[in-house]
Amino acid sequence: MSTATDNPTPDSGGLAPDTVVTPTAGSGARKLPVVLGVLVLGLAIVLLRSSHSGDTTFRLAAETDFVTLPDVVVPSGPTAWVMVVICLALTAEAVRRMLGHLRQPMWIPIAFAVAWMIGFLSWAAADSRILIVSLLGGAVALAVPLVFGALGGVLGERAGVVNIAIEGQLLLGAFAAAIAASTTGSPWAGLVAAAVAGALVALVLGLFAITYFVDQVIVGVVLNVLVLGLTNFMFRQVLAPNAESLNSPEGFSRLPIPILGDIPLIGPLLFRQTPLVYVLYAVVALVAWALYRTRWGLRVRAVGEHPKAADTVGIKVNRTRYRTILLAGAIAGMGGAYYSLVSVAAFNREMTGGAGYIALAAVIFGKWDPIRATLAALLFGFATNLQGVLSSIGSPVPSQFMLMLPYLVTILAVAGLVGRSRPPAADGVPYRKQ
């Protein structure tokens, strides 16, 4: 099959593979126009049914900015309609690409999402103000446990272990963080305890899923329920009677970073957060780098894609999997610290409220990639925060619908916009030597 040799030179990087696979439109290319069409239609119907007159104010500046950006004031109705037209144009482009069997580039859904959101906000916040900084900054804060959880999920699944137990890891992490931070008086000790607690849940998962070949999804779900029951029990029996000594942790407080925090818009968004968020930045960068650029990452990915191939080159498959999910559990556990050290500064029953499952969705939406999963988690954080912001300014959208929003976004994202995604080949498959 070898064609006439064009001798490859040692320095020739980035060569095309021998067989060029022609890009054809997969099912993602067909789904996108449909999803976009439904969304823009929905927006248009809402605008027609209850049009608002008046102006919408988008406030870009935070109070303490070094340079203060001016407010943007736009007329609600016309702005919303302009955005509908832009969305329609983008949908038309997606349809054109679908008919021409072309690949759908990423900028279409992104541009669509931005335009749609501006249109929606100018309608929903007619005659009032949207604080962009608090809308987006709040989204970052709310996304913290989701990002930690999603990173834990990505790591586990890249090594071939489906980590359904993220929810349990978050919850036990929150529980441990509260106790450790209360007894030591240091939120950092709480963070460490949260990581240990997450790793503990992962250890149990590994014991069943790796050593005893039990179905990973079932073990994961059972672990979540177990942790739920355990923390409820402990909360009632131990934490509630001794709330003073065991459940009044020193939380993380906001720690603005001097110069970075003064950058308009970006500064208050990213650099006037709690230390936990800064830890998160480091963890995201570290995981992304380690997974793709180090020997450790190469081996983790090999074990998740083709464990037997890894075994035949002398890599200990199950040992690698254990190490990876322990790390994954520790990372997810740190996310739990958000609940009891940042959000409330006390542990409460069932306080994670299913965030672990949303994180799991972010893993899939992020195509098992740490950076993409982080972005997906941020999107879900945004949806959650939007709900809070809109109900506080008294928007015309019913509050029940708004409560549904994060989950709706999750379903839409996972079902419609994710495109072709391929999990690691050995994801969820226990490895047995013959």
Binding site: H101, R293, T294, T312
Partner: protein
């Protein structure tokens, strides 16, 4: 490097897979391990490679006894293995696959991908492999993937290379290229163990031949021995290598396919507008390298593919758009290419497996309940008729050997009133004795006036059974040629090239 195996014994439960096998491989020689499927060749090599632990016996490399606890040890000792099923991570690049487990790293475990690239290029150039380090493995043709496996072994300075059934997935041309590579490796002083059951290849490259049967060494054979001699040594009795058959007595155009197109879920046309006809009493054999649309073709006939357009007519009845049940009831017999997945339910008994295609009505079902008596009588009869070696009809299919499993499938499919037989890889992974038997059944079916479609990636089988040969390449027909077309021509056609003077035989 000189390898000596002494008295290797490996048991799986009560089965003795290797029974005190001794073997010596010298540097600079190609040593063939010849034996049927299930003779214990691969088990022996897995012991050598540290994947299995031998129950008895020892492995000696250059005079030193080795104690391997895993493949890592074997590799470190200089053993390289080219696995039958490639041990490559499909989504990794060539360079990543080659360095996996043997990575050179910089600061904090950072991968030195450039070093791996250089290594691939260097080995690739030394042996003229034409493998690019940044190509993603899953995009490469199988022959090239195999070279990546070889590079992987060589990059770890392997002195002894084991090739486990390396030609099973290759075209005839790729096989020739592989033989050249093996000779080249021999010239550079490597010791080579070549495991195969294909006699032609053995005689072409082997310096020495060791024949293994039922887990034991039955002796050494001379590379100049004839095919018949080698085969009888391998099987333990004289074997008919040629399928005896008379000239076909063909009938009408019974099975007509027009403009058939099968599209897979990803939108690729796997069968791309093919038309052919099979007359009653004729075998049309489909030749081609695996993955050129054969699977999709047979599955489309059986109604197992979703996106099918065109026409498939059997005795004038259109099959496209019908359910698989209706197609079966129309008299289509189907021997699927993977009996473990599509042919049998492993945890069912032989008797239960024999009624899978007639699970709805007579003779085995009446008023919604099984007629156990009729089924048992039928199963007993077929067990004898098809010479299935099993304890009784209540044995689980999973516990049968490959050949006997396949006989159960064949018995089931041929025990109905057939109008068409579709046989995909009918003898893959089957012992020589069963191959003879199954081939005879296929020929008998054809002689009873039924059109037969045989799909095989083994050219020997295609040539042995065919009245006409259809060569598929990337879902299209390269040509339909007579059964006596030279192998060279067929091999060329399997790479998609159509000789200029080629004439199709039209039905």
């Amino acid at each position: 490097m000189r390898l000596v195996l002494r008295g290797i014994t490996k048991r799986f439960g009560s089965v003795v897979a290797n029974d005190s096998i001794s073997l010596t491989v010298e540097p600079g020689e190609i040593h063939c391990l010849l034996g049927e499927n299930g003779a214990g060749k691969s088990t022996l090599m897995n012991v050598l490679y540290g994947l299995y632990r031998a129950d008895e016996g020892e492995i000696e490399l250059d005079g030193e006894v080795q104690h391997f606890t895993g493949p890592g040890d074997a590799m470190a000792a200089g053993i390289g293995m080219v696995h039958q099923h490639f041990m490559l991570v499909p989504v990794f690049t060539v360079a990543e696959n080659v360095m996996l487990g043997n990575e050179s790293t910089g600061f904090a475990g950072t991968l030195d991908i450039d070093a791996a690239r250089r290594r691939v290029t260097e080995i690739s150039e030394r042996f003229g492999f034409d493998v690019k380090p940044d190509a993603v493995v899953e995009d490469l043709p199988v022959g090239v993937q195999q070279r990546v496996e070889i590079i992987k072994a060589l990059s770890r300075d392997a002195e002894l290379l084991v090739f486990d059934e390396p030609t099973a997935v290759l075209t005839p041309q790729e096989t020739d290229e592989l033989m050249d590579i093996m000779r080249q490796l021999r010239e550079s002083g490597k010791a080579i163990v070549f495991i195969t059951h294909k006699l032609r290849e053995v005689r072409e490259v082997a310096d020495r031949i060791t024949v293994i049967r039922h887990g034991k060494v039955v002796g050494e054979a001379d590379p100049k021995a004839s095919n018949a001699e080698l085969a009888s040594m391998m099987v333990g009795r004289p074997v008919e290598l040629v399928v005896q058959k008379d000239a076909p007595r063909v009938g009408d155009d019974a099975f007509v396919v027009r403009d058939l197109r099968v599209v897979d879920p990803a939108g690729h046309a796997q069968v791309d507008g093919i038309s052919f006809t099979i007359r009653g009493g004729e075998v049309l054999a489909v030749a081609g390298v695996q993955g050129n649309g054969q699977t999709e073709l047979t599955e489309a006939i059986l109604g197992l593919q979703d996106d099918v357009s065109g026409s498939i007519r059997l005795d004038g009845t259109e099959l496209v758009g019908r359910s698989t049940r209706k197609i079966l009831d129309a008299g289509v017999g189907f021997i699927p290419e993977d009996r473990q997945v599509d042919g049998l339910v492993p945890n069912f008994t032989i008797a239960e497996n024999l009624m899978l295609n007639r699970s709805f009505k007579s003779p085995f079902v009446k008023n919604g309940s099984l007629r156990i008596g009729a089924l048992r009588a039928f199963a007993e009869q077929k067990l004898k008729e098809y010479d299935v070696r099993a304890r009784d009809i209540d044995s689980l299919a999973a516990n049968l050997s490959g050949g006997n499993q396949q006989k159960v499938v064949v018995a089931r499919e041929l025990s109905r009133d057939l109008r068409l037989l579709v046989a995909a890889q009918p003898t893959r992974g089957v012992d020589v004795g069963s191959i003879e038997f199954i081939h005879k059944q296929v020929v008998a079916t054809r002689d009873s006036g039924i059109p037969v479609l045989v799909v095989s990636t083994e050219l020997d089988e295609v040539v042995a059974l065919a009245d006409r040969i259809m060569v598929l390449y990337r879902g299209q027909i390269v040509g339909i040629v007579p059964a006596d077309t030279p192998r060279q021509t067929l091999g060329l056609m399997m790479t998609g090239e159509r000789p200029k003077d080629l004439k199709d035989v039209v039905a």
